[in-house]
């Protein structure tokens, strides 16, 4: 008997709990040659500012043990080009499309939302209040409960679509930030964004990233991300989407067990462009062999 993989975020029903993480799946279409996008629970597209953005100078990437540090700096095409060229193509694909919303100022977040609100084919906004690669030393709204509350509040006040607040792991008390987002009316929470990190080339005495610091992702961070997902899912009532180092279906299931209703696959997409589809298959296979009729029944089943 094939298991029911669907999950319900309340504001959004997903075919399965596997989304692709923003910035690791381009605008989605880049992956069409490698997997059937309609098999995904959803796609979170690359972070969008209102206008096109230059991003940071290279080198932008450095590999570490089990991880990847990136300092892309959110280079991108901006909302207009996205709405005109990419969104129509994405609409043809039968999967949930979420837009990762960025802004240099609160106003920019608002303008992005107001602009996209006028275009069809977007299931929800993921508010990227946690990118470590834009301001100095990784500063971003998600580093404080107040900053998070204020931004989520104003986003909710204008948006006609659900808002998912994407949190930063570079904080002392992730639960306090999550509660602030919930109090501000966020429909859901996704975490974690990358951990502020750096690497040095001893020979040249230079940072390996032109931006000096960047965001660490990949399997190396999974234990930290899983811990934070567990803490947040245990503390808030709104649905939580977990991510960080998911490479396999079993990794994804760990997130569900600690309380995430859905997950996002990130860095794995670079290593194996079919990874997100494989994760779906592996979750299905696991449920089948263990006679789990509904994957949603696994959510929050941790015995702790």
């Amino acid at each position: 008997m094939t298991p029911d993989l669907s999950v319900d975020l309340g504001f959004l029903k997903l075919r399965n709990p596997v989304l692709t993480a923003s910035g690791t799946f381009g605008y989605g279409l880049e992956f069409a040659p490698f997997l059937d996008l309609a098999r995904l629970g959803g796609i979170v597209v690359k972070g969008l500012y209102f206008g096109p953005r230059e991003g940071n100078p290279p080198p932008r990437l450095v590999e570490t043990t089990g991880g990847l540090i990136n300092a892309i700096g959110l280079q991108g095409v901006g909302v207009k080009k996205f709405a005109e060229e990419t969104l129509p193509e994405l609409r043809k694909i039968d999967t949930a499309v979420l837009v990762n919303v960025c802004g240099a100022s609160d106003d920019e977040y608002i303008s992005v939302i107001e602009f996209l609100d006028r275009h069809k084919g977007i299931a929800a906004y993921e508010l990227n209040i946690s990118c470590p690669n834009v301001k100095k030393d990784g500063a971003c709204p998600a580093l404080s409960a107040d900053g998070t509350y204020a931004l989520v509040k104003s986003a909710k006040s204008v948006s006609r679509r659900p808002i998912i607040a994407k949190l930063s792991p570079n904080v002392t008390d992730i639960v306090a930030i999550a509660r602030a987002a919930e109090d501000a009316g966020a429909d859901g929470i996704s975490l974690i964004n990358t951990l502020l990190a750096m690497a040095v080339d001893v020979e040249t005495r230079r940072p390996k990233l032109a931006n000096v610091m960047g965001g660490l992702s990949g399997p190396a961070i999974k234990p930290i991300a899983l811990r934070m997902t567990y803490q947040v899912a245990s503390a808030v009532k709104i649905p939580v989407i977990g991510m960080g180092g998911i490479m396999t279906g079993m990794d994804a299931l760990e997130y569900l067990v600690v309380g995430a209703k859905a997950v996002q696959v990130g860095t794995a997409n670079f290593i194996d462009p079919a990874a997100a589809g494989r994760v779906v298959d592996e979750i299905a296979a696991y449920c089948e062999t263990r006679d789990i009729a509904k994957v949603a029944d696994l959510v929050g089943t941790l015995k702790a």
Binding site: G23, T24, F25, G26, E30, F31, P33, F34, K46, E54, G55, P57, P58, P59, R60, L61, V62, E63, T65, G66, G67, L68, N70, I72, Q75, G76, T204, R206, P207, L209, A210, G218, P219, M247, T267, N269, F270, I271, D272, P273, A274
Partner: protein, 264 residues
């Protein structure tokens, strides 16, 4: 552009730190063109994590060749692969060389330094097949860094070599050979792949002589197919230059469009 998770290694050759692998991968081979590359999974474990980019060295029917030098962890693992084993590869990636532009060229000069010679064999054979007169300039640190010289000759491509230490051929950089070559017969097209300083120098020479020149760039790559935006360099597009993806818009660019930056 596709994934072949089980490309079989049907031949392996080794010269010191240089290795050649011939792969059976019909679909990717069919689509392949000179200057394009593969992203290769060098380990099933998360260490190293990322795939490694390697140029297409040759294509023959359903077979592909790669030629690489061990530079670190990933290429060292790749060098341990044996005949009969399979590789997980993505390809063909990138735009490759613009052969249309080169088709009219009566005399093309191919300039390769060290591992940078890799894409020029596939290119040289295609140009020759298209009837172009091809001269290959092949530079290395020492005589031991010119392992595929004979291979070019056997393909009927004449090769002039240079070594930094003078142990073989012209004593000096391959750019010296290029200047000499230009003095004799001014080529109407130049193709280059090698270390950044060598490519930058070649660009300067070519631009000075107003010779159309295509350069194959390298960058650290996260994905190889345009999704991570990690591989950019500053490239002119009429404009003053913007960060463009080496993997998708390149890796080959016209010399005049490349803006060489000092390392961060």
């Amino acid at each position: 552009m596709r994934q072949d998770a089980r490309a079989r290694i049907i031949l392996k050759q080794t010269w010191g730190s240089y290795h050649l692998l011939r792969l059976e991968s019909a679909e990717i081979a069919r689509e392949a063109a000179p200057g394009q590359f593969l992203m290769i999974r060098v380990s099933e474990t998360p260490y190293p994590l990322l795939r490694r980019p390697v140029s297409l060295h040759d294509r023959d029917g359903s077979e592909l060749e790669i030629f690489f030098q061990v530079a670190g962890r990933g290429t060292a693992l790749l060098a341990q692969k044996k005949e009969g084993e399979t590789l997980d590869i993505l390809g063909p990636l990138g735009k490759g060389f613009d052969l249309k532009a080169a088709r009219r060229s009566k005399s093309a000069v191919l300039v390769g330094g060290g591992r940078g010679i890799a894409p020029l064999y596939f290119l040289g054979r295609e140009l020759k097949a298209k009837g172009a007169k091809v001269a290959v300039l092949y530079g290395g640190k020492t005589a031991a860094d010119l392992p595929v010289r004979k291979k070019f000759e056997e393909a009927g491509l004449n090769v002039a070599c240079s070594t930094d230490d003078g142990s073989f051929g012209f004593h000096g950089f391959v750019t010296g050979l290029l200047e000499a070559e230009i003095r004799q017969v001014k080529p109407d097209h130049i193709f280059v792949c090698g270390p950044d300083p060598m490519m930058e120098k070649t660009a300067t020479i070519a631009l000075a002589h107003k010779i159309p020149t295509q350069i194959s760039l390298e960058a650290i790559m996260g994905c190889g197919f345009g999704a991570c935006w990690g591989c950019v360099m500053r490239i002119r597009k009429g404009d003053g230059g913007t960060w463009r993806k080496i993997c998708e818009d390149g890796p080959v660019f016209a010399a005049e469009d490349i803006i060489w930056e000092k390392p961060a």
